[in-house]
Symmetry: C2
Subunit: 204 residues, 2 copies
């Protein structure tokens, strides 16, 4: 039976409950680990579920962060060094990935705290997650502060892309399901996927 939550009911909800609800209603989300370092090489790793592709030419990707959240080291490191990594999460590491959302002091690297392995490649100064099968090297492009609710949108350009060779289709589609990438819903639910179908380009 379909039921309804009205606006007054939404606003009257207990905040944590509303956070669960509103985080669920946007649908399944991209969930990934963002790796950064400060200029001293101290590393940080944080899970984000607000990643969105915003264009292919140039190849841009953005995410939204709450300034008061545990991810604040991510933002300061990105602004400080201009680079970060985006690492897909798979079934083998989703618990470790979730653990990076705990509120650690800046002196503690979430790589160590959560049990994930730092990986450095091609002189890129931000750390990748070795256990991730799809990894992006990203260069910071723009920060947009959203005055409507004091969140921040961080836009970056994809500079390099690492993936399993058997996952790239002829037409450029990267089979992230084959690569083991998972998705999430709400604040804490993780899901594997099963392809229904790829559909042809739609014409009237």
């Amino acid at each position: 039976m379909q039921v309804q939550i009205s606006y007054p009911e939404l606003l009257a909800m207990e905040p944590r409950k509303r956070a669960h609800l509103i985080n669920s209603v946007g649908g399944f989300k991209s969930v990934c680990l963002i790796g950064t370092a400060d200029n001293e090489g101290n590393t940080n790793l944080a899970i984000f579920s607000s990643l969105v592709h915003i264009g292919a030419n140039p190849p841009l990707i953005c995410f939204i962060m709450r300034p008061d959240s545990v991810e604040r080291h991510t933002l300061s490191n990105i602004v400080e060094t201009g680079v970060y990594t985006i690492n897909h999460i798979n079934e083998k590491i989703y618990k470790q990935a979730h653990q990076t959302s705990a509120r650690y002091a800046k002196s503690i690297s979430e790589f160590d705290a959560a049990g994930l392995t730092k990986e450095y490649k091609n002189d890129f100064t931000a750390p990748f997650v070795k256990e991730s099968t799809i990894q992006l090297a990203v260069e910071f492009r723009q920060r947009i502060d959203l005055s409507i609710n004091n969140t921040t949108m961080v836009i970056g350009e994809i500079k390099e892309l690492f993936y399993s060779s058997d996952c790239l289709n002829e037409d450029g589609y990267l089979d992230i399901e084959k690569a083991g990438t998972i998705t999430c819903s709400g604040l804490d639910s993780y899901h594997t996927t099963k392809r229904l179908q790829r559909l042809d380009y739609a014409k009237p």
Copy 2:
């Protein structure tokens, strides 16, 4: 075997191929149908895979649109009337949902062209998709033009929420997998999900 695509290789890719690739690397996406009408009541329905939750208090959700895309009627209708609906996609309607991405003239409603049913509720002037099990009534809040690549971010506030009564958990988490909501990857791949687990709030 892990392989690498460098920045020059990315830029040199055939544009359609790069679009497939860059749309894939951001991970699984929220995919939904956005329903609008103009002031004359002409309806429009378009599929979007760039939906992101940006905050729970107030309950805000945003999506990104390309101004040159088929979704342009969506934006003009939203600006004209100030309201729209967000409708989750399930296994029964993903083909119809995908079909709304075809480039129809403004005089043609994608509801009719794709074979989906308009539904009106509670004096809300934007049409819902009757076949969707989770539906949001949204009020337009802000438009942010992203100069970096001429896309537009549309921010709205969730005013009402419709869902199956058996999908809402005690803690506010809406079980969108149980509701049949699907996810997508790339430009054209649709996937059902299977829950691994909900995890506890992470503490150091």
